[in-house]
Every structure is written in structure tokens, then in C-alpha cells.
């Protein structure tokens, strides 16, 4: 949370996920596993012990046949800006050993696996369950270690991990731009594995500050919303849905509250940042 030198223009990398386009295929999850060396086990059906940096939740409108509708909601780490947008995301401020940090230049919340000693306070703090613990030693049977990506280190047992917005891809793109004498990255130079893999282009990724990036206008669209906005975590993952019932499921509202009004107010407030 230290202030970075001012000569680089601050970015706010974020994601906009169009739920009307998400088919729940799971390509984002699998692409993420492959990109980030996420291990797997014989039985992964205990979803609360399954390492996933992005999970696709299946939500239904609760209506009986044939009026039922379902919607898939992919949930990566929300990369919260935290209360007052200062990088005090719920997890960063609680980590006792500075093993997770908010990068002021990109807005990305990092995780240092070799620093983390596995107290799991950050997991208790995260309202999105985005943080995952390595309950077991990772194991790649047969020759599977050969497919591991050298850009991402494998995690050892006993530490917490989470989505990094494929930060290693940012580093690579930034290094390339530096060599070429550029300061700015093009939108397509830095994309997360999930956004790249999404077969229906439901997931878009870019700098929320940069009007040339598609996420800029998409995140400001009328149907945009974030999950649990009322907790003031200020996530950088936005969702789009044309369906009112989906938008309603994104947050908690008291009986009698007009949720669209509250959402609209929050949307306008967020857009000014």
C-alpha cells in the first residue's frame, strides 16, 4: 500500500463480464488452471476445498417449470479497491505478514506465496470466497509436470492463493513495451487467460481508466453492476445483465427497498472514479 512514484500513469485494471453471453461452459476455469498451474485432485467435489481462481456459479430465478431461468456468474478475485478506493481491500489490510498487497499502479491485489504462512485471515475477510488455501501438496501424476507454465510458480501446501489477473502477463507485456520504448500497453497486449479463453467474449478485460479500452464504456453501461456493492469493497469486476432478477441477486436488499434505485446510485458513484 505504499505510494508509487508518480511518473507512471495509474491504471485500474478491471473486468466486465456480460452474463447474457456467459454459457457456463467452464472454459475460463480450465484456461485459468492451465495458465496458472492450478493443481487438481482425484476428487474435487468438495467445492470448498477445490482450488479455483475463477469459479462459475449457477444461479436460478427460483420460479417453477417452465418459467425457470438460469444464469451463470463467473467469479474471479474481485481485485477490490477497498473502502474509499485507497487499496484497503478487505484482504490486504488484514494480512499480518504483507503477503498480499495492493499495487497502486495497476490496482491488482497480489499474493506472495513464499511470504504467506497460511493464517487464512484473508480468507475470513474476503466476502467473495475468492481466496483458496492449499490444503494438500500439489501433485501432477505421470508426465503432467511437463505442461507447467514457467511464468507462474507452483504453490506449496499450506499457503493461500487467488486470482492475480494473470499479473505475469502484465509483466511480460510491460517489459516488451519498455524494450520498444512505449509507456502505454495496447488493450490486447495484456489480457487475462480467462478473458482470452471465453468462447463467447462474455469476459472483457482492460484498464477501467482508459476510454480506449472496451471495459471503460461497458463498466459504465446502464445494466452494469458489481457483487455486494453495499459492503463498500469496490470490486473491479463488473457484470452486465439485461435481466432484472439477475441484478437483484448480486447484492442484499431489505424488504421494501428499491434495489434498482440503490444500484443506479452506486453505479453513478462508481462511474465518477
Amino acid at each position: 500500500m505504499t505510494q508509487q512514484p508518480q511518473h507512471t500513469k495509474t491504471k485500474r485494471y478491471g473486468m466486465v463480464i456480460d452474463l447474457d453471453k456467459c454459457t457456463g461452459c467452464g472454459a475460463c476455469m480450465v484456461a485459468c488452471y492451465a495458465e496458472n498451474n492450478v493443481p487438481f485432485r482425484q476428487d474435487e467435489s468438495d467445492k470448498m476445498r477445490s482450488l479455483n481462481w475463477i469459479r462459475v456459479m449457477k444461479v436460478d430465478n427460483g420460479k417453477p417449470f417452465p418459467d425457470t431461468q438460469v444464469c451463470y456468474i463467473p467469479m474471479p478475485c474481485m481485485q477490490c479497491d477497498g473502502q474509499h478506493m485507497q487499496g484497503h481491500s478487505p484482504c490486504v489490510s488484514v494480512c499480518p505478514a504483507v503477503a498480499t498487497d495492493y499495487d497502486q499502479t495497476t490496482g491488482i491485489v497480489s499474493q506472495i506465496y513464499t511470504r504467506c504462512f497460511g493464517c487464512r485471515y484473508c480468507m475470513a475477510a474476503c466476502p467473495y470466497h475468492a481466496r483458496k488455501f492449499n490444503w494438500w501438496d500439489p501433485k501432477w501424476p505421470a508426465d503432467m509436470e511437463k505442461y507447467l507454465n514457467p511464468d507462474v510458480s507452483a504453490r506449496m501446501r499450506g499457503v493461500v492463493e487467488k486470482c492475480s489477473f494473470c499479473y505475469h502477463r502484465y509483466q511480460k507485456a510491460r517489459d516488451k513495451a519498455y524494450v520498444e520504448g512505449r509507456e502505454e500497453l495496447h488493450e490486447d497486449e495484456y489480457q487475462t487467460a480467462c478473458a482470452q479463453a471465453c468462447p463467447t467474449n462474455a469476459i472483457t478485460f482492460g484498464d477501467l481508466h482508459n476510454p480506449e479500452h472496451s471495459v471503460y464504456s461497458r463498466s459504465r453501461s446502464k445494466t452494469a453492476f458489481r457483487l455486494l456493492e453495499r459492503l463498500n469493497t469496490n470490486p473491479k469486476v463488473y457484470y452486465l445483465s439485461s435481466k432484472s432478477w439477475v441484478r437483484r441477486k448480486a447484492d442484499n436488499y431489505l424488504e421494501g427497498e428499491n434495489f434498482e434505485q440503490i444500484r443506479e446510485k452506486a453505479r453513478k458513484a462508481a462511474a465518477t472514479h
Binding site: D20, K21, T23, G24, C25, G26, A27, M29, V30, A31, Y33, A34, E35, F40, Q42, D43, E44, S45, D46, K47, S50, N52, V56, D60, G62, K63, P64, F65, P66, T68, Q69, V70, C71, Y72, T114, D137, P138, W140, P141, A142, D143, M144, E145, K146, Y147, L148, N149, P150, S153, A154, R155, M156, R157, Q196, A197, C198, P199, T200, N201, A202
Partner: protein, 758 residues
């Protein structure tokens, strides 16, 4: 000096205090922490020069272009190839995680022969020479005994070079029994042949169509057409209207603008009903029917007999009757018909990747809707794609033995008088073997692609038939269910380490050939099946040897593809968009040179089987409805591989806990139906059908029609690895085939079932 207790204690305590004052404990503490950060059992992937290699995924017929990231000689990650005409960068989870199968424990690492009883899992490693010699000797022996026709070959495709070579080998050797494993598109391809006179596939321009009427196609659930459909869906503006007709709220239905939950098995009636409304209201494309349609109106054959035309046929399918049969309201039927007919670029799709096979009648009825719209060979419409013609054939001569063998009837009954136009009837094979008296009509079976012991309906019957076959060779890359029961394993390399041509995938609106190529060096001691076949041919000698003038498969591909080879080497695919703009005058190759509507085709299909009665609209499922009042329907999911090759561990990892929990599979049931049987969420239950039974758990889902039990296809594997086997049950094993009287194909859209709390 006498050391007393006090002295000793002082020494120990003093020593301990003293040590803490030295750097030793602090250094050790630090070292231990550093050790914990570099545990030797946590791998550190090796870095190296990175490359991106263009290739194509070969795990399903979808033919999606891939880009493989390699580091040194390691395949790291598979991504979509953005400029590939099929998928434009989109991939399904299975393609993305193919490296897991490639490097995984399911691979067969070299040729082996069975050491114990069949299925015992005991194998003995042998050399390729010995393996090939064993097959050659067996085949030579059968030929000497005048029984070359008792050799059968099962393959999952008849369209790529490898399968052509196999078919060629059988012909040169003397067997008519090349059998393609079943797919949901079988009936659709037959319908295409009957109504348009073409052997090939039907293409739909999903990217430009403005109305997609899908009859239960798993457009965004299964992977067969997923690459093209999902990339099209991603491109589409919201003006494209997708309507999904399906009794279960599948992922395709969930994304559709409209979900039409018609009763399963009633799709044919619904398609005819839609035709009724369109004809009644005169909303069909009159110009197209005038110029290119045949048998729309009643017609007379050469002998002067009058036959009913399409108009007469749909007469009986008035909305009120169709409403009754489908469970939909008349209003829905009427408005659906009208919006389809009024759309500018509508397509009606059937049999593209659906979980259950479809009947010939359904295929014809749905295809006829496209003819009513007349939306052929133009953007946003239907395109007729021929079988690949890129393989240039050298003539071959065959000997008398081969000629005699080829004259024998096919063991599966395809092409017989009864099912004259059907090319393969894999689901008749078990019955043909099981009911044969004396020796099995199949004495040697070569399984080259496909996994019949898993994918064929009614697993128990298939197992029984396989037991009777004395010699089974599997060419499988993986230890799949069929390989487990084989006598000899001749592993084919994975598509990431070998050349493989992939022809135009089903549903594609123009011709695309893609080439899979060695991305990294071969991992294990494998050989391309085609190489083995060429070697066996050479060993057999004579005419057979002469029929195979190629060194190996790569040589064959290079020579056959000639000019296209260069393009394929360079960009990974070869695309021919010419097939898109053929004028309508040349596309119909039926006797009438027109699109032939339902009745005549049906007559043609039934020619010879004595069943002249029109109307097999609904395929009856076998079984006693009193004992089995529910219907089990398979469903497919993008996250479960339902085909020959199982899930990757990554795919299984994505499954929700109400799909698979530990080793139990969940069946979806409407809460209403569940309460009738006293079932609640998560309960263990037994599902019984005529073909078998399975232990399952119950998942209450409002998105499924009451009275149905839906079970995902692709689970219940026994082969592959511990990461894959033993989860759930194989739904295809529970569904007995229901023979479509018009085609002989299996058209079981479900199975009568009973469920009880376990």
C-alpha cells in the same frame, strides 16, 4: 571431576541459554523457512524459449483451430486460434485441457499384448514388430480360410485420411465391414442424402442467421459444434433470435431468447405442426418451392400412382393436435411458426450434437422447414457441404478373395435391402453377434478410433458381443473401456505429437480442412494407426501391398493433399469459401434435381422394408410403462466429455457439487416428480431401466419437465485413470436402442425408467 545432577542441569540450561546468544538458532530458523519455500516436491517448471504452434484439436469432430504454446519440447497451454474459420479463437474446456490427457496417466505408452484374462488389466510389453506380426498373421489366417469378411473395423470417423486408409485396407483385404460409431448427426446426414441427393454434411451460417430454431441441439452444451456456435454467439448482436426446443433447461436453452419445453420425442410432430401453420398461412417461400421443390404438392410417380405431398402430410398436424402431443400451447406453436417464417435468414437445426440420437423422420421434418424458408446457399442460411474430396485416390486392384469377401453382406445390416441408404448401423452390431449361431460373425475386430464399449447404447449387450469376438485390436491412444477389453494394444499417438487431417466439421457452412501436427516430439512408443495399416498391408503382400504405395501416413497426406499441404503446413487450415456461393440450380442432386420433400424421401427410405405406412413420427421406447412410468433422458454438458475420450481432470474439477459428489452422479428431477417419489435434494436413489440400473443422487431442478429423469452423459468410466474412472454411471448403458424403422439407426430419445430411494 564428578558430574552430579546439579552440574549436569547447569550445563544443559547454560548451554541452551548460551546457544540462543549465538547466530546458530537464528540462522537455522531462517534456513528452515527458506527450505519451506523451496520444497523439493513442489515442482519448479523449467523455462526456455517460447513458441506458438498452430494446429487443430482432434478430440471431437468439432475441428477447432488451436494455438499451442510450447517451451522447449514441452506443450504448455492450448489456446484458440483467433483466425481459424471454424472457431475464431473460441475453444471448449476439453480442447484447452488436452495437455492433461497428453501427459497424463491414461496414455498407453507402447504396444502391449494381453497377459491375463480379458479385462484383467494385465499387459505384457512387446515390440512394434511383434505387434504388427501378430495382427498380420491373424489376418492372413482368416484370409486363407476364406473368411476375410469376418474382419470388422470400428472407427469414429469415415472422413479423414486415416479412416479412408482403413476402409481401403478392408476393401483390398476383402471385408465390407467398416463401421462408423454412432453420432447424433447420422439421421441428419441420411436426410440430406434422401432430400438433396448428397453425401456430406449440412452447414448452417450461424454467424449471419437471424433466427435459429434448434430442435434439442446441444449448440452450447456439447463440444461437437461448440467452437463454431459459441464464437458465433459471441459475435452476434442481440437481434439474432435463438429458440431452443428441449424438455430440459440446458445451457443452450438458458442462452436462448426463447425456451420451448416440448415433450421429448415429440420434435417430429412439432416440426410438422410448424409446417402446418406456415403452409396454412401461406408463409412459405413460394419461389423456392416452385423452382427447386419437389413433392410439396401431391404428385404422381411414373406408374401413375398418386402420392401425398408435404401440404397433405402436414394437414393432419393442426396446432390443437400438436399442442396435445408436445405439451405446448397452440399459441406458442402458432407464434413460433410465424416468427420462423417471417425471419429474414432463419435456419432450423436438428441432430447437431444432441445428447440422444434423432429419427430420420425428425431430421426430414426439420430439414423441410428450411426448404419452406428456402434459405439455401446464402448468407445466414443452410449450406450443403460435400464429403472431403481432397484425398486423391490411386486406383487399386483387388484379388478374388477380396472380391468375394466384399460381396458378403455387412455384419451390421447397413446397405441391406431393408436399410438400403444407411451406411453404418453400429447399434445393430451387438445384436448381430449375440444372435448368431455358432462362431461369431466377427472373428477379428480392429478398433481404430472410437470407444464402442463405452459409447454404444446398452453396454451390457455390447460387452456380451465383444466377449464372443476372438481377436480384438485397439489402436487407442488411451487406456479406454474398449482398450481394456482388447487382446492387443497398438497405441496411436496423441494429436499433439502427430500429423492428422481434420475435414470440415459438421455444421460448418463452408469447406475447411485443418491439420494437426507434431507440436512436440512423441512422448511414448506410439505409431500412427495408418502407418501400422500400411505396414500390415505390405506384410500381407500381393494386391493388398500394391494398394498402399505410400511410405507412411505423412507421405500419404503430402501426396494426397499436394497443393493444399503447403497451405496447411503454413497456416494450419485450408478453407474454401467457394462452396458458399454455388447457385441453387446445381446443389440438389436427387433424381428430380430438386429438394425432395418429406413423402417421397420417406418412400425412398422405406423402399424394400415393406413399411409403406406414413407416420413413424414418434419412436416408441421399449419397456413396460406401468413398471417404468418415468423417462430417463441423457443430457450433455460442456464440462463432461460424453464421447470416446473421457474428461480431463480439469473438466471434472469444474463440475458443481450437485452434478458429481465424490463418486455419485446426480440425476435432475423436477421437485414435483421428486415429491411423488419421496425424494429430496441429495438423496441416494436407484434408477432402473430395461437395460440396467444405476445408483445415483437426486438433484431437484425446476428447469426440467416433470416426469423426466435427466442424467449427464460421459460419466461412469472404468478406463483412463484414477482421476477419471469410477465417477457416476454411464447413461448410455441404461438406454436400450430403439430401432428407427425408416433407417435402422438407433433413435432412442430416452428410456422408460423407474426411480426409488436407495
Amino acid at each position: 571431576m564428578k558430574i552430579d545432577r546439579r552440574c549436569f542441569l547447569s550445563l544443559v540450561i547454560g548451554g541452551a541459554v548460551g546457544t540462543t546468544l549465538t547466530p546458530v538458532p537464528w540462522k537455522l530458523t531462517d534456513d528452515i523457512a527458506i527450505w519451506s519455500q523451496n520444497w523439493p516436491w513442489t515442482p519448479v517448471p523449467e523455462d526456455g524459449p517460447s513458441k506458438f504452434v498452430k494446429s487443430v484439436c482432434n478430440q471431437c469432430p468439432g475441428g477447432c483451430g488451436i494455438t499451442v504454446r510450447t517451451i522447449g519440447d514441452r506443450a504448455i497451454k492450448i489456446e484458440g486460434q483467433p483466425d481459424h474459420p471454424v472457431n475464431k479463437g473460441s475453444l471448449c474446456p476439453r480442447a484447452i485441457s488436452a495437455t492433461q490427457h497428453f501427459y497424463g496417466p491414461s496414455r498407453i505408452q507402447g504396444p502391449m499384448k494381453r497377459a491375463g484374462e480379458r479385462g484383467q488389466g494385465k499387459w505384457e510389453k512387446i515390440s512394434w514388430d511383434e505387434a504388427i506380426k501378430t495382427v498380420t498373421e491373424k489376418l492372413a489366417e482368416l484370409r486363407t480360410r476364406g473368411k476375410p469378411h469376418t474382419v470388422a473395423c470400428i472407427s469414429d470417423t469415415d472422413r479423414n485420411g486415416s479412416s479412408y486408409l482403413l476402409d481401403r485396407f478392408l476393401k483390398a483385404y476383402g471385408s465390407p465391414n467398416f463401421i462408423r460409431t454412432p453420432s447424433s448427426a447420422d439421421a441428419q446426414e441420411l436426410a440430406l442424402y434422401l432430400s438433396c441427393g448428397r453425401q456430406g454434411t449440412i452447414g448452417y451460417d450461424f454467424r449471419k442467421a437471424d433466427f435459429i430454431l434448434s430442435f434439442g441441439c446441444a449448440l452450447m452444451d456439447g463440444c461437437d459444434a461448440a467452437g463454431q456456435v459459441m464464437s458465433a454467439f459471441g459475435e452476434q448482436d442481440k437481434k439474432t433470435r435463438l429458440v431452443q426446443i428441449e424438455a430440459r433447461l440446458s445451457d443452450t436453452a438458458a442462452k436462448a431468447a426463447q425456451w420451448v419445453p416440448a415433450k421429448p420425442g415429440s420434435e417430429t410432430v412439432l416440426a410438422l405442426g410448424l409446417g402446418h401453420v406456415i403452409v396454412r398461412d401461406g408463409l412459405y417461400n413460394k419461389a423456392f418451392i416452385e423452382d427447386h421443390g419437389f413433392a410439396f404438392e401431391d404428385w404422381q410417380d411414373d406408374a401413375g400412382n398418386t402420392h401425398p405431398g408435404y401440404r397433405s402430410l402436414v394437414q393432419a398436424h393442426s396446432p390443437d393436435k400438436v399442442a396435445k402431443a408436445t405439451g405446448l400451447s397452440e399459441k406458442v406453436i402458432e407464434s413460433l411458426a410465424r416468427s420462423f417464417a417471417r425471419a429474414r435468414r432463419p435456419v432450423a437445426v436438428s441432430g447437431l450434437g444432441s445428447a440422444a440420437p434423432v429419427s430420420l423422420d425428425q431430421s426430414l421434418a426439420v430439414f423441410a422447414l428450411n426448404a419452406l424458408a428456402g434459405n439455401f446457399q446464402k448468407p445466414g442460411g443452410v449450406f450443403l457441404i460435400d464429403e472431403p474430396d481432397y484425398l486423391s485416390w490411386t486406383e487399386m486392384k483387388i484379388d478374388k478373395t477380396a472380391s468375394a469377401g466384399n460381396q458378403q453382406p455387412r455384419v451390421d445390416g447397413a446397405g441391406s435391402e431393408r436399410f438400403a441408404h444407411t451406411r453404418y448401423l453400429p447399434n445393430q452390431l451387438p445384436e448381430a453377434i449375440n444372435s448368431a449361431k455358432g462362431d461369431s460373425p466377427v472373428q477379428a475386430l480392429l478398433v481404430a478410433g472410437g470407444n464402442p464399449l463405452y459409447t454404444l447404447a446398452d453396454t451390457q449387450a455390447v460387452e456380451k458381443a465383444f466377449e464372443k469376438i476372438p481377436f480384438i485390436v485397439s489402436f487407442s491412444t488411451f487406456m479406454d473401456e474398449t482398450a481394456e477389453q482388447a487382446d492387443l494394444l497398438l497405441p496411436h499417438p496423441h494429436f499433439l505429437e502427430s500429423y492428422q487431417d481434420v475435414p470440415t466439421p459438421r455444421g460448418m457452412a463452408h469447406t475447411v480442412i485443418s491439420l494437426a501436427r507434431p507440436v512436440v516430439k512423441p512422448q511414448y512408443d506410439t505409431r500412427p494407426t495408418a502407418d501400422v495399416v500400411i505396414q500390415i498391408a505390405k506384410n500381407l503382400g500381393g494386391f493388398i501391398e500394391n494398394a498402399f504405395p505410400w511410405k507412411n501416413y505423412e507421405d500419404f497426406l503430402q501426396k494426397s493433399l499436394s497443393d493444399q499441404w503447403k497451405t496447411l503446413e503454413k497456416q494450419g487450415y485450408w478453407s474454401d469459401s467457394k462452396s458458399r456461393d454455388t447457385s441453387l440450380d446445381e446443389i440438389f442432386r436427387t433424381a428430380s434435381q430438386r429438394f425432395e420433400f418429406f413423402p417421397m424421401s420417406k418412400l425412398a427410405a422405406m423402399n424394400g422394408n415393406g413399411n409403406k405406412k406414413a407416420g413413424v413420427e414418434k419412436i416408441e421406447l421399449p419397456g413396460d410403462i406401468a413398471k417404468m412410468p418415468l423417462v430417463l433422458v441423457p443430457y450433455i454438458s460442456m464440462r463432461i466429455s460424453d464421447g470416446a475420450v473421457a474428461n480431463t481432470p480439469f473438466m471434472t474439477k469444474t463440475l458443481d457439487a450437485n452434478v458429481v459428489l465424490e463418486n455419485d452422479v446426480f440425476v435432475e428431477i423436477n421437485p414435483k416428480t421428486a415429491s411423488e417419489y419421496g425424494l429430496s435434494q441429495g438423496d441416494k436413489a436407484t434408477v432402473k431401466t430395461q437395460a440396467g440400473q444405476a445408483e445415483v443422487r437426486v438433484n431437484l431442478f425446476e428447469g426440467i419437465m416433470p416426469g423426466l429423469v435427466a442424467m449427464p452423459a460421459g460419466l461412469g468410466r472404468t478406463g483412463f485413470s484414477d482421476y477419471i474412472a469410477g465417477k457416476g454411471a454411464n447413461v448410455y448403458g441404461l438406454v436400450a436402442p430403439a430401432v428407427d424403422p425408416a433407417s435402422g439407426l438407433n433413435a432412442a430419445w430416452g428410456a422408460k425408467a423407474a426411480i426409488a430411494k436407495a
